[in-house]
């Protein structure tokens, strides 16, 4: 019989008819979505690491036997960071190797720019950008090896070692706002390991997304495995009667589920591979990607396909085991899957433990953080079904319409199932809700319309002020120039000596002022509000981006889960639905009930945690005297509305299936 399992499975799968095929297609579709989402998130995480590595060469690695001076500086144009790496070969020293992306070490007066910067230099007037760099007849191009993203603005400038831009003073950074945007050292090569500030947190944030999405992918794959439980139950009964052993039936189910899972997961993985160029266009952090950065490699590729397939197979077999052990229990759901109060107690206990563990304020190790994250996640998985159960009972008690009553009873009947569909959105919703409207970090809005230049001392500052007025006047910028006081730590100079130009006009004027004032700082680049807020903003922006991306992908998974579960329920409950229709029950009542089954926990749980996140963030913003990140809020609302609509559409997509499987239930000659 062992050898007959495969051909018999193939024969039964082929002869399972249109409904069997529908189940298999839905399961394969779910596997495809799961594999696709997981590969995309892993790609984002690995790619972020690769990108960070590509920026490490820009931060100089000091070597007392070095051969060249390297200075890193950052300036902003159109609110985007432009990284300027200045290099000077020291005389009488060995030749320094070429930096990544360049063919040779740049000679004095040579300027290499990234393709995106070259485009911008071409687009903007020289007075707003090009004049910040040494004048050259033509720019060289920095290759992909030296860039994290095709959108990055980077310039490599060859200078003399005596150039003010290479001085130690210039390298100390503009002020205490610097946060790693400036650095200088004598180097012997480009072996730096410290990633650019703009890419350093990307991988951690993407990894957080992977962690948050792992469980929804497991849920989706499990749902795919459970699909067609009723059909398998019938098959089990028929085959048992025909003399097959439970082991053979389980083997057949495993083979079928594995085949469907592999086909689906492989389709999803191939879709990921085919869509790589399109995926690479999605900006994250410093911008879009080089396609190769998003390729996860054959090991991850195969690993994800195998993992998704294994999940589906295990889920299908475990479901069959339940059927084999207690067919009536599964088919009729004799006892509602009640949740107990202990879940609430454990949830509160877990949150209490997390609070106590983090209350000390000390730095936690990565392992401890991971453990707390797992506890936090686990706590929600305990708590979620309990809330769904209570929600079902409360709504069931007060429901006035049949559809609401049906939905509420379904929630109480299987709270874990309803929770699984929306679970991914609950945590992602909280994170996205919190960070998308957050304006955390130093508030630098008071520096809007200001451009600052630091000087060596106060005397130099007075001279610089005179020069600045002349330069700004010549550039056509209306501005008031003041000399900064060393005691004034609240100014854009942050207590450093220098001048501040209060510029009238918008972004273009600020860019013009920064460009015009470049010669003033004796090597130190002028800076604006963007520079001052970069450090904090980069971190919060990345978290917000990662949270929103996670929320979007959670919606993709939840949409697939909801659609799949809805279709599976229709197929598994077609008899009762058919008889209800036959007795005159309007199908719109069943449709509404099926929709409300998802809407209720979605609004109560995912909506609730998202609102909690927004409220918490708003209160923190308020305490810091800031408002709300309006664009982030709009993005969040758009994401929520579109995601919810997609979920409802996915559930609605099984409407024709409901009509089809319940149509003409009496079509026989009897």
């Amino acid at each position: 019989m062992r050898t007959s399992v495969l051909p018999l499975t193939w024969h039964l799968a082929r002869s399972s008819g249109r409904r069997g095929l529908q189940s298999q297609l839905l399961a394969a579709g779910a596997a495809a979505v799961g594999a696709f989402v997981m590969l995309v998130m892993i790609a984002a995480s690995l790619g972020s690491g690769t990108r960070a590595d590509h920026t490490a060469w820009r931060t100089p690695q000091a070597d007392k036997h070095g051969t060249a001076v390297q200075a890193l500086a950052t300036t902003y144009v159109r609110h985007e960071p432009l990284t300027v790496v200045s290099l000077a070969q020291l005389p009488d020293r060995a030749a320094t190797p070429a930096p990544p992306g360049l063919n040779a070490f740049p000679k004095k007066g040579e300027v290499y720019v990234s393709p995106a910067l070259a485009e911008l230099l071409h687009k903007l007037p020289a007075s707003q950008l090009a004049d910040r760099l040494p004048k050259v007849s033509s720019y060289g191009t920095i290759g992909a090896a030296g860039l994290a993203s095709p959108d990055e603005l980077v310039a490599v400038v060859g200078r003399a070692p005596t150039d003010p831009a290479m001085s130690k003073a210039a390298a100390e950074g503009a002020s205490w706002f610097d946060g790693g945007q400036s650095a200088r050292a004598v180097v012997s090569g480009f072996t730096g390991t410290k990633a650019s500030m703009f890419t350093a947190t990307d991988q951690a944030m993407a990894l957080l997304g992977v962690v948050l999405l792992a469980m929804p992918v497991v849920v989706l794959s499990s749902a795919a495995g459970r699909l067609g439980a009723a059909r398998r139950e019938q098959r089990l009964a028929a085959l048992r009667l025909a003399g097959a052993t439970p082991r053979q039936i389980i083997a057949m189910t495993a083979v079928e589920a594995a085949a469907v899972g592999t086909a689906g997961a492989l389709t999803g993985a191939l879709a990921y591979a085919v869509l790589l160029p399109a995926l690479a266009k999605i900006p994250y952090g410093v911008g879009s990607w080089y396609t190769g950065q998003l390729w996860v490699g054959p090991a991850w590729f195969a690993g994800v396909v195998l993992a998704v397939t294994a999940l589906i197979t295990v889920s299908a077999v475990s479901m069959l085991r339940q059927v084999a052990t207690s067919p009536l229990g599964v088919a009729q759901q004799a006892n509602p899957r009640r949740t107990r109060m202990i879940r609430l107690v454990l949830f509160v206990g877990a949150l209490g433990y997390i609070w106590v563990s983090t209350a000390g304020g000390g730095q936690l190790k990565a392992g401890q953080l991971l453990a707390l994250l797992i506890i936090f996640y686990g706590a929600f998985w305990l708590f979620g079904p309990w809330v769904v159960d209570r929600l079902g009972r409360i709504v069931g008690r007060f429901a006035r319409r049949p559809a609401t009553l049906l939905a509420a009873r379904r929630l109480s009947d299987d709270p874990r199932g309803a929770w699984r569909t929306v679970s991914g959105l609950v945590l992602a919703g909280f994170a996205a809700g919190f960070f998308s409207v957050s304006l955390l970090g130093s508030d630098v809005s008071q520096y809007r319309d200001q451009v600052a230049v630091t000087t060596v001392g106060t005397a130099e500052a007075r001279q610089a002020a005179t020069e600045a007025r002349t330069l700004l006047n010549r550039a056509g910028v209306t501005a008031t120039v003041t000399v900064g006081s060393e005691e004034d730590f609240d100014s854009l100079l942050g207590g450093s000596p220098g001048v501040i130009a209060h510029v009238t006009g918008g972004t273009e004027r600020i860019d013009t002022a920064v460009t015009a004032l470049t010669p003033v700082g004796s090597g130190t680049l002028p800076y604006s509000q963007d520079y001052a807020g970069a450090s904090d903003r980069t971190t919060t922006d990345r978290i917000a981006q990662a949270s929103t991306a996670t929320l979007i992908l959670s919606f993709v998974l939840a949409t697939a889960s909801a659609g799949l579960t809805a279709a599976a329920n229709v197929l598994d409950r077609r008899r009762v639905y058919g008889l209800l229709r036959l007795a005159g029950t309007p199908l719109r009542v069943l449709d509404r009930a099926r929709l409300r089954e998802t809407v209720l926990p979605l609004v109560a749980l995912a909506g609730g945690t998202t609102a909690m996140g927004v409220y918490g963030s708003y209160q923190l913003n308020k305490a810091a005297g800031a408002g709300i990140n309006t664009s982030g809020a709009v993005e969040l609302v758009a994401c929520l509305v579109l995601g919810a609509l997609a979920m409802f559409a996915a559930i609605g997509a099984s409407r024709p299936l409901l009509r089809r499987v319940t149509a003409d239930p009496a079509q026989s000659a009897d």
């Binding site: 009536l328 509602p336 009553l405 036959l582 005159g584 309007p586 003409d664 239930p665 026989s668 009897d670």
Partner: protein, 227 residues
């Protein structure tokens, strides 16, 4: 007694197979009619045609003298909901609803407020021997109890006709007798007519009339005098 439901010259074909070949049938108030016949004889098709589930290719179906076979799908659906009750072999109860809500559901679908619908539904539990089982779910009921809940649900809307398709097909002999007695007596008490398909002669014997169908035609018609 007045005719409640009548079928005249009913014809129904499925491709080249003729399920009904011109059947005439009439059911009066409080009457119970059993339709019997071998597999594929057309007995279920006849029940479904009379109940407005299947549209006949020829002939007419009249409910209290009004033609119903030419109504649109929505009107037919509403008619089935309001004026007919249905009892099937099994699997007709929603597993997540307690028994009383299963019975109340058709009333709620008709717009009866939930509290009132449940109150009306509960009235059926004692007469059908279901006292104390109002809160149980179908999975927690025996086969006989589930069928009695289904009968309660069919009668809750106070229908003109109750249609039963093999209502005892999944029950043992003793339970079957108990259920069929209840079905026929309660239906009669409510003033409704009963049309039932069965293959079991003992079950059919509880009805006022037995109609035998073979090859889409009535082959025999018997009438019992029920005490």
């Amino acid at each position: 007694m007045h005719s409640v439901l009548a079928g005249h010259g009913l014809v129904k074909k499925y491709g080249s197979t003729t399920a009904l070949a011109g059947v005439d049938v009439e059911v009066r108030e409080r009457d119970s009619l059993a339709i019997m016949g071998p597999s594929g004889s057309g007995k279920s098709t006849l029940l479904h045609t009379l109940a407005g589930i299947v549209r006949p290719d020829g002939g007419q179906v009249l409910l209290r003298g009004e033609r119903i076979d030419n109504l649109g799908e929505n009107k037919l659906s509403a008619l089935r909901r309001k004026r007919f009750g249905f009892v099937f072999q099994s699997g007709q109860l929603l597993p997540e609803l307690p028994a009383e809500e299963n019975v109340a559901l058709p009333l709620m679908l008709e717009g009866t407020p939930r509290r009132q619908a449940v109150k009306r539904a509960r009235r059926w539990f004692a007469p059908l021997g279901l006292d104390g089982l109002e809160g149980r779910r179908p999975g927690q009921l025996s086969g006989g109890q589930a069928q009695r809940v289904a009968i309660a649900r069919a009668l809750a809307v106070e229908p003109d006709v109750v249609f039963a398709d093999e209502p005892t097909g999944a029950l043992d002999q003793a339970t079957s007798t108990e259920v069929i007695r209840l079905l026929t007596s309660v239906t009669r008490e409510q003033g409704a007519a009963l049309v039932m398909v069965t293959h079991d002669a003992d079950v059919a014997a509880h009805c006022d009339h037995i109609l035998h169908v073979r090859d889409g035609l009535i082959s025999n018609y018997s009438q019992y005098t029920v005490a």
